[in-house]
Amino acid sequence: MRYLTVGRPESQRRDLVLAAALAFFSLFLAGLSLDSRLSITEVLRSSILAPFLGAQSMFARGADLSEQVTTLTIEREALAARVLEAADLELENQQLRAITGLPGRRISEFAVGEVIPGAPEAGVSHSFLFRTRADVVPVTPAGISAPDGIVGVLRTAHRGSGLGEFWTHPDFRVGVRTPTGSATGILRSFLAPGGETMMLLEGIPFQTDIPAGTLLVTSGIGGVHPAGVPVGRVVEEAESRSGWSHSFLVEPIVRPGQVRVGLVWLVGSVLPSQDSSAAEARGGD
């Protein structure tokens, strides 16, 4: 195969002029303001490059899906093992409740759904869209959790989808306790000095100390989240003190960016209503 040769001298001069003009135009582009350069980038990305970007995001989604399948398989296996272990425990619990005359244990009901983060504000997304089956109607506000721990709260719901807030939202609050119940308090999001979003446990009595590494779980008070869902681990005592209480810095177990699937709690309240309590009390008698 033969390649093209230089050509006539006037063609060479024309080529040189064209190359120089393009070089100058390139320098002009480099000197444009950031906004102008971004506008050009956007135009190109939404036109010529759009098919490539679409294909790239499709590949990325495919890779994500295969990763999710692996994770879900591992989780399913672990869950199956725990269910087998729990069968004995459930029977024992029923027998003990029957002996002591307690009513049957109220089993929480959850629905699985997709958590789609909203537009990030300063790099952090505070809100999300939750999508589940169309026949699921959660009583809002309803707690959203992942298998590992608390994710946030669902604020509105309509026909299987709704809007929620991650725990990073400034308005988010959840009642927590230590697993032994030695301390209870209210947890909220907190921007740590390093810029990282952490949690702050407030309202702990002055004389109560919580060692670093202690797991905090939901107390169930308030009826938004079921009791016993892990929330975070205590890191250290925070500097802020108010009156006779002090606060602790808490490392959250679940980060919003990690969550794709969540469980919405459908019971709506952990506290039995007055009527049902009375009825159960009468039944017990």
Binding site: Y3, S11, L22, A23, S26, L29, L44, L49
Partner: protein, 161 residues
């Protein structure tokens, strides 16, 4: 005449294919420690067939697209690839492009130089190891891949004629 048309068709097809592969798998190539630079490879192959001015224009266009894809270096990438396109086309004429191993050496040296320039124009300055060892390895891979494509194209053209 037939040879020229056949060369244009097959070379054009292989260059477009290399460019499509580059833009399609760019995120993968960026993540890998060693990867062929199909963009520069395709540009250098195109400069073997184009006049210097046209090669510069192709380099400019590819530079704009690459910058839009990378979200950085708008203007600088275009400048670098314009110069590479022009110099590549001119050097081909000066260095007797029909020599047997010319294309491989041309692709290797051209890609190494281009990679070095593009790395230096990037947002974070590259280390010397990345510049010389990584750049050299990338250039070798590019020369192998694009040189292979060019050899296949040449054999197809020769067979047709």
């Amino acid at each position: 005449m037939e040879t020229e048309r056949s060369t244009w068709v097959w070379s054009g097809f292989s260059i477009v294919l290399l460019l499509i592969l580059h833009f399609l798998f760019r995120p993968l190539f960026v993540r890998l420690p060693l990867a062929p630079n199909l963009l520069v490879g395709a540009l250098l192959l195109a400069t073997l067939h184009l006049r210097a001015g046209h090669a510069a224009f192709l380099g400019f266009s590819l530079g704009i697209l690459e910058a839009a894809m990378a979200l950085e270096g708008m203007g600088w990438y275009a400048l670098a690839l314009t110069v590479i396109g022009y110099v590549g086309a001119r050097s081909r004429d000066l260095l007797f492009a029909d020599a047997r191993f010319y294309v491989f050496g041309y692709l290797f040296v051209g890609t190494w130089l281009a990679e070095s320039v593009l790395l230096l124009l990037g947002t974070s300055p590259p280390g010397l190891v990345r510049l010389f060892v990584g750049g050299g390895a990338d250039a070798l891979l590019t020369a192998l891949v694009c040189g292979g494509v060019e050899a296949m194209t040449a054999s197809l053209v020769d067979r047709q004629v």
